[in-house]
C-alpha cells in the first residue's frame, strides 16, 4: 500500500463516492481522516443535509488507485456511515459544480 507519485496520480481515473452519514459535528472529520492518514488526496468534497437533517450525504471525488477498495472498506466501518456507493467519474454531481470553480 505505498503512496504513488504525482505523475502516476495524474494518469489515474477518478471515482465518485456517495456516503450516507449521520449528521453531527465530527462525522466529516472521521471520514476525511481515513484518507489523510494514508496520504490519499480527496479532490472534491460536497456535503448537504438530507430530508429532516438527521442524516447528510457526502460526495467525495477521489483518484482511483489500488488502495480504493481498502478505503471503501474502512469508510464502511465508521459508526456514523450508513451506506457507501461507488460511481464513475462521469457522475454529474461534481460536473455540474464546475461553473463555480472557473
Amino acid at each position: 500500500m505505498n503512496s504513488i507519485s504525482g505523475t502516476e496520480n495524474q494518469a489515474l481515473s477518478r471515482t465518485v463516492l456517495e456516503l450516507d452519514v449521520n449528521n453531527h459535528p465530527g462525522v466529516m472529520s472521521h471520514v476525511v481522516g481515513l484518507f489523510s492518514r494514508r496520504s490519499y488526496n480527496v479532490e472534491g468534497i460536497l456535503v448537504m443535509p438530507v430530508g429532516n437533517g438527521e442524516t447528510s450525504r457526502i460526495w467525495l471525488l477521489v483518484n482511483e488507485d489500488e488502495r480504493l477498495d481498502q478505503m471503501v472498506k474502512q469508510v464502511e466501518k465508521l459508526e456514523d456511515v450508513l451506506a457507501v456507493h461507488r460511481h464513475g467519474a462521469e457522475h454529474e454531481v461534481f460536473v455540474r459544480l464546475e461553473e463555480f470553480f472557473l
Binding site: 465530527g26 481522516g33 472498506k73 465508521l78
Partner: protein, 560 residues
C-alpha cells in the same frame, strides 16, 4: 423497568449508574477539575472500586489488563487536557490490538470549548484516529444512549476502544430519568457464508502442505478450542502470531510456535514451503510476515476474519471469509476429512529437528532464557504473564510455555514500553485468584514506574521480573547488527537502584544477583502473595535470535 416514577439525576450520576448497570466493578483513573462531578458521583457508588493510577497512561493500561484478561470491556477515566492526552497512548495501544476499552474523559464546560480554556484540548479530534468510535456528549439526556452504545461498540465485531468526552456542565446538568436503558452488549455477527466454508474445507482437504496461522482474533473470539480441534482433525501444523500465543499450547505436537521476525527457523522455513495458508483472526502484520512478497510464496490463502477490511488488505486471499472466527471454525470442522499428510508432517518434523528454536542457557537462571524457564518452573498454567516491550518480550514469547488463551498479555501492534506493569495490575484486579507475572526490562519499567505505588496500595498479586541489561536492549541489538556496531543512546550511563526504587514505592524486592540459589529464591518469591519486584541482571550482549532483518523475507533469518 417500565412505569417508574421519574427521578432527577445529574449527568455524572447517570454515568455512574450506567456503569454499575453495565456490570463495571473496577475501573482505573485519575481525577481532575473537569471530571470532578463524575468523581463526586463515583464516591457514592457502593459497587464500583476506583483504582487511583498515578499517571493516566497507567490507568489506561490497568483497564487494558482487565479487558485483556477477561475479554469484557473495561473502563478508564481522566480529566480534560493533559489527563486526556496522557491517556492517548493506552487508547492507541488498545486500537492496534483490538482491545475493548471505554475511556471516559472530562471536558471543559460547553460554553468554554474552543476558547483555549484552562486544561482544554480537542480530545474528540485527537482521539478520532486511535479509537473505534468516539463521542463528545452535548447533554445529560444523551448519556442514556451514549454510554450503553460505547460498550456495545467496544465489544461488537472486532473489539476496540471507545472514548466518551463529557463537558463538565453536562455532568452537572439535571434530567429526569424514567427508565434506564439496557446495558450495551456485543451485536450478533452475521454467520459466515456457507458456500465459502465448503470451498475452504475442500481446499484444506486437498492441500498437500497446509499450515494453520492463528492470530489474536482467535483469542478474542474464544475460539482456541475450535482452532485446536481443526488443527487436530485436519492435521495442520500451526503457527501463532505474538497476539495468539496461548491459543494452542506451545508444546502441542502440531504447534510450530510463533512465526515472524523472532520465530524459530523451523517455523519460518515451514511457512516458506507451505502450499496452503489458513489465516484465522490474523492480519498479516509486517512483524509476522516479513517482506510480504516473500511470505508463503507458494501458498494459496484462506483468510477468516471478523473485520472485512482485513481481507485482501495485505495479501489477496483465494477464499476470504468474513465472520466470527469461532463460528467459521465450527462450521468448517464437520466438513474436514482426516487426511494422513504423512509426508508433510514428516517434513515439518525434520525441520523442527534440524532447525529448532535454540535457547542457549535454558538451564542457567542467570541467562535470559534460563530465567524465563526458572520462572515458568515455579508456576502452572493458571498464572497470567504480561510483558513490556523489547528483548525481554521476545525472549518470553519464544521461551515461556504458554498454554492458555488470555494467559499472555502483551502490547503487540503498538509495541508500547510501559505497558507491562500497569497491565499486570489490571489483570490481577480482574482475576485476583491468579498470580500475575510481569516480565519487564530496565528501559520499559521506567516508563510507568510510578504505578509501583498503585500495586502496593492495591496489594495486587503481581510479580515483576526485571531483566536488567543496562540498555535499551533491542535498540542495542539492532545497532550492533545493522548499524555497524555504532552504539548510540542505547546504553544507560546512570542506573537506578531498582531494589530501593521498589521498596521506596512500598513494593518488596529481591535481587537474584545476590542469591546463591536463584531457582529457590524465585520459588519463594513467586509463591508469596502480594506485589514483589525481582531484579535479575543479564548480559548486555545477549541477543534475541533468530532475527529477520527489517524489510527482509522471513527465510533470511540471522542467527539462531
Amino acid at each position: 423497568m417500565p412505569n417508574q416514577t421519574p427521578e432527577t439525576f445529574n449527568g455524572a450520576q447517570i454515568v455512574v449508574r450506567l456503569l454499575e448497570r453495565q456490570g463495571v466493578r473496577t475501573l482505573a483513573g485519575i481525577p481532575g477539575g473537569a471530571i470532578l462531578p463524575i468523581y463526586d458521583a463515583l464516591s457514592k457508588s457502593t459497587l464500583i472500586h476506583h483504582v487511583l493510577a498515578r499517571h493516566e497512561q497507567g490507568g489506561g493500561f490497568m483497564a487494558q489488563g482487565m479487558a485483556r484478561a477477561t475479554g469484557v470491556p473495561a473502563v478508564c477515566m481522566a480529566s480534560s487536557g493533559p489527563g486526556a492526552t496522557n491517556l492517548l497512548t493506552a487508547i492507541a495501544d488498545a486500537k492496534l490490538d483490538s482491545i475493548p476499552l471505554v475511556a471516559i474523559t472530562g471536558q471543559v464546560p460547553k460554553a468554554m470549548i474552543g476558547t483555549d480554556a484552562f486544561q482544554e484540548v480537542d480530545t474528540y479530534g485527537l482521539s478520532i484516529p486511535i479509537t473505534k468510535h468516539n463521542f463528545l456528549v452535548s447533554s445529560a439526556d444523551e448519556l442514556l444512549s451514549v454510554i450503553p452504545r460505547a460498550f456495545r461498540i467496544a465489544a461488537s465485531g472486532r473489539p476496540g476502544p471507545v472514548l466518551v468526552d463529557i463537558p463538565k456542565d453536562v455532568q452537572n446538568q439535571l434530567v429526569e430519568v424514567g427508565e434506564w436503558p439496557e446495558p450495551g452488549c456485543a451485536d450478533p455477527v452475521p454467520a459466515p457464508v456457507a458456500e465459502l466454508i465448503e470451498r475452504a474445507a475442500a481446499m484444506i482437504n486437498d492441500a498437500a502442505r497446509p499450515i494453520l496461522y492463528l492470530g489474536g482474533g482467535v483469542v478474542h473470539s474464544g475460539a482456541s478450542e475450535a482452532a485446536v480441534a481443526l488443527a487436530e482433525t485436519a492435521r495442520l501444523p500451526t503457527v501463532m502470531t505474538l497476539m495468539a500465543l496461548g491459543a494452542m499450547p506451545v508444546d502441542h505436537a502440531l504447534s510450530l510456535g510463533m512465526l515472524g521476525m523472532h520465530g524459530a527457523r523451523c517455523t519460518n522455513l515451514a511457512l516458506d514451503e507451505c502450499d496452503l495458508l489458513i489465516a484465522v483472526g490474523a492480519r498479516f502484520d509486517d512483524r509476522a510476515t516479513g517482506k510480504v512478497a516473500g511470505f508463503c510464496p507458494q501458498a494459496r490463502i484462506i483468510h477468516i476474519d471478523i473485520d472485512p477490511s482485513e481481507l485482501d488488505k495485505i495479501k489477496t486471499a483465494h477464499i476470504g471469509i468474513a465472520g466470527d472466527v469461532g463460528a467459521a471454525l465450527r462450521m468448517l470442522l464437520p466438513a474436514i476429512a482426516t487426511p494422513q499428510r504423512a509426508a508433510w508432517l514428516a517434513r515439518v518434523a525434520s525441520l523442527k529437528e534440524e532447525h529448532p528454536l535454540r535457547m542457549p542457557g535454558i538451564d542457567d537462571p542467570r541467562t535470559p532464557y534460563g530465567l524465563i524457564r526458572a520462572v515458568a518452573n515455579c508456576l502452572d498454567d493458571q498464572a497470567t504473564i504480561t510483558t513490556d516491550v523489547g528483548q525481554h518480550q521476545m525472549w518470553v514469547a519464544q521461551a515461556y510455555p504458554l498454554r492458555r488463551p488470555r494467559q499472555w498479555l502483551t502490547s503487540g501492534g503498538l509495541g508500547t514500553m510501559g505497558f507491562g506493569m500497569p497491565a499486570a495490575i489490571g489483570a490481577a484486579l480482574a482475576e485476583p485468584q491468579r498470580t500475575v507475572v510481569c516480565f519487564t526490562g530496565d528501559g520499559s519499567i521506567l516508563m510507568n514506574v510510578q504505578e509501583l505505588v498503585t500495586a502496593a496500595e492495591e496489594d495486587v498479586n503481581v510479580k515483576i521480573i526485571l531483566m536488567n541489561n543496562s540498555s535499551l536492549g533491542l535498540v542495542f541489538q539492532q545497532q550492533t547488527m545493522f548499524y555497524g556496531e555504532r552504539i548510540y543512546a542505547s546504553k544507560f550511563k546512570g542506573m537506578p537502584d531498582f531494589i530501593r526504587v521498589a521498596e521506596g514505592f512500598g513494593v518488596p524486592a529481591i535481587d537474584l544477583d545476590q542469591e546463591s540459589d536463584p531457582q529457590a529464591a524465585l520459588a519463594v518469591a513467586l509463591s508469596t502473595r502480594g506485589p514483589m519486584l525481582i531484579h535479575a541482571s543479564i548480559a548486555m550482549h545477549e541477543q534475541v535470535l533468530p532475527m529477520v532483518p527489517p524489510g527482509a523475507a522471513n527465510k533470511e533469518m540471522i542467527g539462531g
